[in-house]
Symmetry: C2
Amino acid sequence: MAPFAGLVEELVRASLTDGQAYEKLALLCRVAPHRLSGSQGADRAVEWARETMIRDGLENVRLEPVLVPCWERGDTAQLEILEPPMPSGEGELRILALGGSVGTPGEGIVAGVVEVTSFEELANLGGAARGKLVLFNRPMDPALVNTFAAYGGSVGQRGQGAIEAARVGAVGALVRSMTTLRDDSPHTGAMHYEEGVDKVPSVAVSTLGAEKLSGLLRDHPGRVRMRLRLDCRTLPDRPSANVVGEIRGREKPEEIVLIGGHLDAWDVGEGAHDDGSGCCQVLEAARLLLASGLRPRRTLRVVLFLNEENGLRGAQAYYETHLEELPLHVMALESDRGGFTPRGFTTDGNPRAAAMLAAASSLLSSIGCSDMLPGSGGADVSPLRRKGVVTVGLYPDCQRYFDVHHSENDILAAVNERELELGAVAIAALAYVVADLPERLPPNEVTDGESR
Amino acid sequence: MAPFAGLVEELVRASLTDGQAYEKLALLCRVAPHRLSGSQGADRAVEWARETMIRDGLENVRLEPVLVPCWERGDTAQLEILEPPMPSGEGELRILALGGSVGTPGEGIVAGVVEVTSFEELANLGGAARGKLVLFNRPMDPALVNTFAAYGGSVGQRGQGAIEAARVGAVGALVRSMTTLRDDSPHTGAMHYEEGVDKVPSVAVSTLGAEKLSGLLRDHPGRVRMRLRLDCRTLPDRPSANVVGEIRGREKPEEIVLIGGHLDAWDVGEGAHDDGSGCCQVLEAARLLLASGLRPRRTLRVVLFLNEENGLRGAQAYYETHLEELPLHVMALESDRGGFTPRGFTTDGNPRAAAMLAAASSLLSSIGCSDMLPGSGGADVSPLRRKGVVTVGLYPDCQRYFDVHHSENDILAAVNERELELGAVAIAALAYVVADLPERLPPNEVTDGESR
């Protein structure tokens, strides 16, 4: 790593005195605060990203077509407690439709409620859930220091809850929000349906709402009745695009080091952390390198993916569009864990690649970001793993992420400028080193030998 | 460290599922948001701390008398631009009197302004500063990742500015706020006078205010005139107290491991990070150990100091009160760098002690808090260093601290519950290990052999 002495210090100085990641993010959050795939906001975000890349001096800036789903939240999301009688002002729980959910009839669905904390518990209810709404109330485990692990342990009820509810004859799913906070902000997110299983509506309730409802069920067994009204709907797919720009390599331009994030975001809050931060960090990483006159041996490619949140169509489109080129993808790095102080990276690299990456990340010890942990890159680069591409994910401090994730609180004010800029430095440094090393990272094994 | 296997995991689980550091902090910020030494708020904070220790089951809970200074901010802090004529609404800069400043006559001080970025520059002005207000406008260096280093590089103009200004015949000091943010919140803090040098008033201006004023001075050389009005004042010293409680050691109760923070806080904001967080973390560290049935070999002593911000009288009183006992102080750990995600510690321990401390902190790698860096404990435990006591400071992520430090923005909402609780875990674990190790940390050299 001797040739890279001074690299991090130079990038840190440039970034902390005159970095533009936060400025970019402020603009993105103003131009397109709501940019769910298929929305006009997403179109504006795509155009903003293209213009930003051109202004920053990236090369080969282009839009790569992606056909994205178009789900609209609508105007109505109401969950009323009909029984037992509630004091005035306490008869409604704040909810958000989960992304992809069907709506309800205009008059809503009126039903009783059963509560479970696992799919096993639901299956064991026998017929008791038939005709009911199912409250999935498994909290994220607050005891896990790694909040992503806690998320992983509970998010299944959000993604699969409606399917499992429908399997037992329930008429809807009410899912506890994925956060360790006890507050009244529901957190949305993706949910799925399965071919051959009834499509029932599915909503997020806040953690306090879930606990209130749980208390009612305990205190008034068999008596709780609710009305759920939703007018969300799915429209036909719409054309959109991944936004791509490059710093062409000075010696091996055909070899690619990809850095990316996702432009789409949930339609509440501003997607400031998820994943405006990641987008602005990778854009800024490229700008920092250009501004410092650092053109690596290999090509650095910035990719802002569409539709990470509810379909992964951008990731799939990139995979398909660049299939022939994937063996030349030396690394694909994603930033999609929030714009907090960077602590290190996760990687699925083979032992030799991981050792090289660890040597590279050790250069970042001066900013406290030298960890290179086992893991992977993230959803957008995950398809590339099938072709042996080594993926890497930026790993920031994770204590605050799920406070805001997918909620109205994911706004610019929740992002700290210095923390965000340091993440851009970390990405710039790691990507530059990997793109500039004489030896390329050895690829992983190809797990999918087919051309598709 | 084998005897301590599982310790951190147990503390983490207890803390992240049922920790009370944040709950304590919320209460402190409600009971005594303003608790500058000598104020009624400080009295309430002392009583709150005593009650909290008793409720949590600490032993030998007591108040140890401290005579503290009593400076009052007053109601008026006004800095008007008289010349050049300003557009309506732009003729005043937001300021805060620096703690300890004298006031002005009722009609204020009217004077021109000179700007400097160093004391050398001020001295070189010759007579040009005579009769003027001096704008000390040296920014914190944003390029330093360690914001405490950036603070250290600029805070001299706050502490000494009034003295240096008076030396050259100036009539007041206007000091750029100690933050890397560009915003309009002034940050207060301590300033000093020197025997035999005129006492001139000294105030903090926001960073944007300082830049605006700097622009006026550039655009209207020699023409800027301002009026400064302050009614802050110093009253006679008042009695107050350090609050002390213990977990008595099971084998060597006479040997002391001290953990502390400071109860007093500036009278703007709520002192949530500075140093409500530190106080609540050390209180909570003791509670966590008690709740887990962990009574160490040596005595763990919790000390909440008074008057860190503007006098250090509590630190000095502790030193004097416990002078005979200081050789038995194995370690003194302070938390006074904000309630952010803990990253490690700093210590002034001799090589052998530092190695033992590093072995102890390595137990905290699972929460990312294993660093044991050269440095020291903090202001409150600094007098103890003269007697060879090894001091340690908790070192949290530092990117956000000076955004809020000593300003109206240092409020509970700026503290993240999980980040705060993890700091309590870090303190509990390190203090417990040091208090329980068969071998005591070897003391540092005594640098002050006198009994006083």
